[in-house]
Amino acid sequence: MYGWLQALFVLALLVVLHVPVGDYMARTLDGGRHLAVERRLYRICGIDPDREQDWRHYLVALMAFTVLSVVALFALFTFQGSLPWSLGHPGMPWQLALHTAVSFTTNTSWQNYAGEATTGHLAVMAGLGVQGFASAAVGMCVGLALIRGLVRRSGTEIGNFWVDLVRSVFRVLLPLAVLFGIVLICMGVQQNLDGAQVVNTVAGGTQTLIGGPVGSWEPVKLMTGDGGGFFNASSAHPFENPSSLSNSLEILIMLIVPTAFIRTFGRMTGNLRLGWTLLIVVGILFGLLLIAGNAAQAAHTGTVAQAVGAQTEGTETRFGIPASTLFGVSATASADGALNASYDSFSSLGGGVLLAAMMLGEIAPGGTGSGLYGLIMVVLVAVFLGGLMVGRTPEFMGKRIGFSEMRYVVLYSLVSPSLILVFTGLAVGLPAGVSSMGNVGAHGLTEVLYAYTSNVNSNGSAMAGLNGNTMFYNLTMTAAMFIGRYLPMAFVLALAGRLVRRQPQAVTAGTLRTQGVSFVVLATGTALIVALLNFLPALSLGPLADGLLG
């Protein structure tokens, strides 16, 4: 009961807060004047902030930034040993460095290593910290570009990538991170620059406690959808998540930016009602996941539960089952890899729910920016079917969805399921994939499926039990993350470039209204059916087989 109250409290607070944050983002991200600091930054980098880009130039700028980021991170990890503040950790092997570089650039932050044992403070702060913000901001950029494509009535420009990037980081993510960081530190999250300290315990033994800039990292990890914990245990570690209150706040931090982005969408399109409608769709999807997750966790059947004979195994005992589930669903549904419980120890069906949350395509509410554009892509499919069903050439916000628009929508929708299924098929079919599996049978398959789903959807959370630090997994996951992140982005930008040139149609009583019960049902149904249908066979051999006992 307490867990449900907590969920209600967090979600109500989220709905209240998403309005001012979203309004602020709309105001500050699009248009308006440049700050003096920003002007200086643009001048140093040789950018003309007032010149907008068409979708091709936008994409080129985005990819240039991405490649540069990967190269910089790769160098940082490889040569960590010879850089300061490494805490004595050596450089990473090349395939792990590559995987990690791509992982943090793509906002996935899947770690094939234990954080506290591999990366020093410099790598965390200069490398992962910077990319935590930048990678989240890139998602917001693409979201903004798509909104502009929908809103604008002529021309070919969809914004300036550099301006969007700088503003997302410095006007939204950074201030919020500072704010949330201070609050979290007040709640008892650790913040220092110490390395490992050996302390004497009450019982007389010794324990190694690792200190560090945890409090400043925490909001980055949660808010940006990064998810890589300072500690391997992430938010299950008391230094990262000391209390029930901090647990609630951490959930809120994970959800706030993607949720507020829906409001930003409503603001920028001048259609707040559509914003609320989309929020309701997201709310229903999230609610379904939460209820399913809790039901599965409460019933708690499957391999793990039978093995240990306990219901709470793997869940965070400090917070209980519902709070663990809420955290898990929030994290997986918001493209955030954080965890406050071991997902591997969730019940089989509960783990399946977390998988489903990601398989939806990270739209409820998804990653920062990426959640919104993913949601709009699903809505476009819904609008296409709905438009036909009311006897009109489908249109969304007055823009016709014809052949050339649908081309990008379907290509977008193809990427993630194809990558997940093909890589999972490869992994369980090849000895190199099977040898890494710590568990056999349906649970082992679930772990592999989970790994690729998490990687392709830039989530980053993991089920333990799979050793990802092998040549096979490092490389396939790198490919999964890179393609799974940027190919869809390219299609979204191309779509924005198409849409921006479309003259909007007049809205009449014959136009499909993107509001009301019918539309919400249509959009939610499309999200569930179109997104989940293709995964059902794989799910049946994974969590379903694991969880359903004969």
Binding site: V381, F384, L385, G386, G387, L388, M389, V390, G391, R392, T393, P394, G402, F403, E405, M406, V410, S413, L414, P417, S418, L421, V422, T424, G425, L426, V428, G429, V434, G441, A442, L445, Q503, P504, Q505, A506, T508, A509, G510, T511, L512, R513, S518, F519, V521, L522, I529, V530, L533, N534, L536, P537, A538, S540, L541, L544, A545, L548, L549, G550
Partner: protein
């Protein structure tokens, strides 16, 4: 010069009368299915089938199961193989039936064109009397644009064109079904003639306007024949979605194989079944899963829906130049309607008698009747009708007088009787006439006349020598039922705009009476064009009808331009549809057909996708239940055995195509209503229905197939 009498089309023509009933004729005769079977089998040719990617994948699947079943024969394998082939055949059948129905329509039209002999005039020049023309006989099929032919009474006109000399009455019933002959003459807006129609009287000279194979009928035939049919924009977009779904499910089934082998390897104790062994899922079952998941239902019916939509146009005697135009009709935001002929009957009719100066209404009516007895204009006759209703059918029969016809100088007409003279006409002229005879005009006349004009009518003043009797109120009569029609349009989100040459006052009154949303008064063709452009700039699609040459620019600019068949070739060239009935209100039906076409596609796509849920519940437990017994709990339908479950799903998948062919041909039921209502209804029927129906149907099929031994 002996001209062979052309074959009369009458014997082969569709005999049923044109009526609202014929419009609804969408019933499917089972015999049609049977007759279309050979064509359906011909369509199995992969070279034609690849145009339909979903069914092409199905055919490849069927081929695969055939190849796998030959070396490992089993009853189950052969049953599945047979039903997979049937799935493809059923899909082809849907298209073949739609085509044959369309072709039957088109053939009726085409038949009139065959075997016609044309008499081509060499070196025709204007002014040459038609009797002096020398002509050579050639087959009509060889006529080219610009050729000039001469057609005498009793002959068929060999091709579409314009009359350049002469006037004739023409029987166009072969095309329109309308038996009354129409007049066609050179010059003006009634010069266009259609190939295949018959000249009843006189001789005309026609300049052919089309090259062979480009006439309206040729293009229409192209639209209803699947092989030549261009896919329409929305169809292309939908096809894209279907291809994407096919690719995704192909991916899902192909990648399932390594996962299944892995799972079977782990659960080595699980028994081998026909569905799954250590080597993986059997090809037959895997293909069955794929075919059940890909959107075969809509894939099979998509082309039939498109053809049937065109066919419905032809049934309503509308020839569309392209499928694109039919689709655009469903999207129309603004409908431009000519007042005359479309909204009103086209002539003013007497509406009431308003006496002035103490005259009784009966007296006025009687005077009006007398003054109009010899008036042969439609207005005059309407005055007679109204007056007889007021003063009796036989009033005025005994009078004997001198008829004074209307002239542009006097602007009056009337009658001089032995006892008195009566005049009716414009207020100013009649008042002047009364003054000339020493009479006076009552002061309230001005006001009465004003009021009649203000309400959009035309006041005719009736007077005796010295006395003004009153006013006949003539007005445009709005056709009955239009108000409701326009209200319907409004609910559909379509704005109606009336175009008229009347002054704004008259226009406003009629607009209000007819219930149109807006009007354009004193409209010139340029105004019309400007209005269309303005609407389009505001993001609206415009539909209009037109017949005259001066309508051509507007017809070309409009997104849907319906030219009247009676109109000029220029108008027909400019528009993208031709209404053979020349009925300007037809455009409302055209819009509805366009919408119905899209709705049918959308509804069946939703149905098709929603079906997948039940199929999963049938096939997944059947495949993997033997490995993981827990998965058998997904068998919520309680299907007999794994084999019967797979077979039932495949059979359902095939049978549902045949079951939906009538719906695809007829179109989903469409009642004009707002988008919200339509969405709710279709979501409920085809979305929820698509989820629920297959559960019941698969269970029913399973109850039957379980009696097959070994299944």
């Amino acid at each position: 010069m002996a001209v062979e009498a052309p074959v009369a089309p009458d014997t082969t023509r569709v005999e049923e009368p044109r009526s609202a009933h014929r419009v609804a004729a969408g019933m499917l005769d089972p015999r049609q299915l049977w007759k279309a079977m050979p064509e359906a089998l011909r369509k199995l040719d992969p070279r034609t089938l690849w145009r339909n990617p979903v069914m092409f994948v199905t055919e490849v699947g069927a081929l695969l199961t055939t190849v796998f079943t030959i070396p490992h024969p089993s009853l189950f394998g052969w049953l599945i193989t047979a039903w997979l082939w049937l799935t493809v055949v059923f899909a082809n059948l849907a298209e073949a039936v739609a085509e044959s129905r369309g072709r039957a329509q088109a053939d009726t039209l085409r038949l009139t064109r065959q075997q016609t002999v044309a008499r081509r005039v060499a070196g025709w020049a204007e002014g040459v009397p038609s009797s002096a023309i020398r002509a050579e006989e050639i087959p009509a099929a060889l006529l080219r644009r610009g050729d000039v032919v001469v057609v005498d009474a009793g002959e068929l006109i060999p091709g579409d064109g314009d009359v350049v000399d002469g006037v004739a009455s023409v029987d166009e019933s072969a095309i329109t079904g309308e038996s009354a002959p129409v007049i066609r003459e050179s010059g003006g807006d009634r010069c266009a003639v259609t190939g295949g129609t018959r000249v009843l009287s006189d001789r005309i000279v026609v300049r052919i306007a089309q090259d062979p194979g480009e006439s309206f009928i040729d293009r229409m035939i192209g639209l209803v024949e699947g092989a030549k049919r261009q896919k329409t924009p929305n169809e292309l977009a939908l096809n894209l979605l279907l291809v994407a779904l096919t690719v995704i499910f192909l991916m899902a089934t192909v990648t399932l194989q390594p996962m299944a082998i892995f799972s079977k390897g782990v659960m080595a104790a699980a028994p081998d079944t026909l569905a799954i062994t250590g080597a993986g899922i059997s090809a037959v079952v895997l293909v069955s899963l794929l075919v059940c998941l890909i959107p075969t239902t809509i894939g099979a019916l998509l082309s039939a829906i498109g053809i049937a939509g065109m066919d419905r146009m032809v049934q309503r005697n509308v020839l569309a130049m392209s499928g694109r135009a039919v689709e655009a009709a469903g999207d129309v935001h603004t409908l431009l309607l000519d007042k005359t002929g479309t909204i009103t009957y086209g002539n003013r009719q007497a509406d009431s008698f308003i006496p002035v100066g103490g005259t009784r209404e009966a007296e006025l009516a009687h005077a009006a009747l007398l003054s109009s007895l010899a008036d042969r204009t439609p207005e005059g006759r309407s005055i007679l009708d109204l007056a007889r209703r007021r003063v009796g059918a036989h009033a005025g029969a005994e009078e004997d007088g001198q008829w004074v016809p209307f002239s542009a100088v006097t602007r009056m007409s009337g009658v001089d009787l032995p006892s008195r003279s009566l005049r009716k006409g414009a207020a100013a002229s009649v008042s002047a006439w009364v003054h000339d005879h020493g009479g006076s005009v009552p002061p309230e006349l001005g006001e009465t006349v004003q009021r009649a004009s203000a309400s959009g009518g035309t006041p005719l003043v009736v007077a005796e020598q010295t006395r003004v009797l009153g006013v006949i109120h003539l007005k445009d009569v709005v056709k009955p039922g239009l108000r409701e029609r326009f209200a319907e349009m409004r609910r559909m989100g379509i704005r109606t705009v009336m175009i008229t040459g009347d002054n704004p006052t008259t226009a406003r009154a009629i607009a209000e009476e007819a219930g149109v949303d807006d009007f354009l008064a004193e409209a010139t063709p340029e105004d019309k064009l400007a209005l269309i452009k303005k609407e389009q700039e505001g993001g609206r699609l415009v539909a209009m009808t037109g017949d005259g040459t001066n309508d051509a620019p507007a017809l070309a600019q409009a997104d849907v331009g319906v030219a009247m068949n009676t109109g000029t070739s220029a108008a027909k060239e400019a528009g993208n549809m031709v209404d053979l009935d020349s009925d300007p209100t037809k455009i409302v039906e055209i819009v509805e057909i366009g919408k119905q076409l899209l709705i049918t596609r959308g509804a069946l796509t939703t149905f098709s996708i929603a079906n997948d849920i039940a199929k999963y519940f049938a096939i997944l437990p059947a495949m993997f239940g033997p490995i993981y017994p827990g998965l058998s709990r997904l068998n919520v339908m309680g299907l007999h055995s794994p084999l019967s479950a797979v077979l039932s799903a495949v059979v359902f998948n095939a049978v549902v195509i045949v079951a939906l062919i009538p719906l695809a041909l007829r179109g989903v039921r469409y009642r004009p209503s707002s988008a919200g209502t339509l969405l709710a209804r279709n979501l409920w029927v085809y979305g929820l229905g698509g989820v629920v129906v297959p559960f019941a149907a698969i269970k029913l099929i399973d109850l039957v197939v379980q009696f097959i031994p070994g299944i």
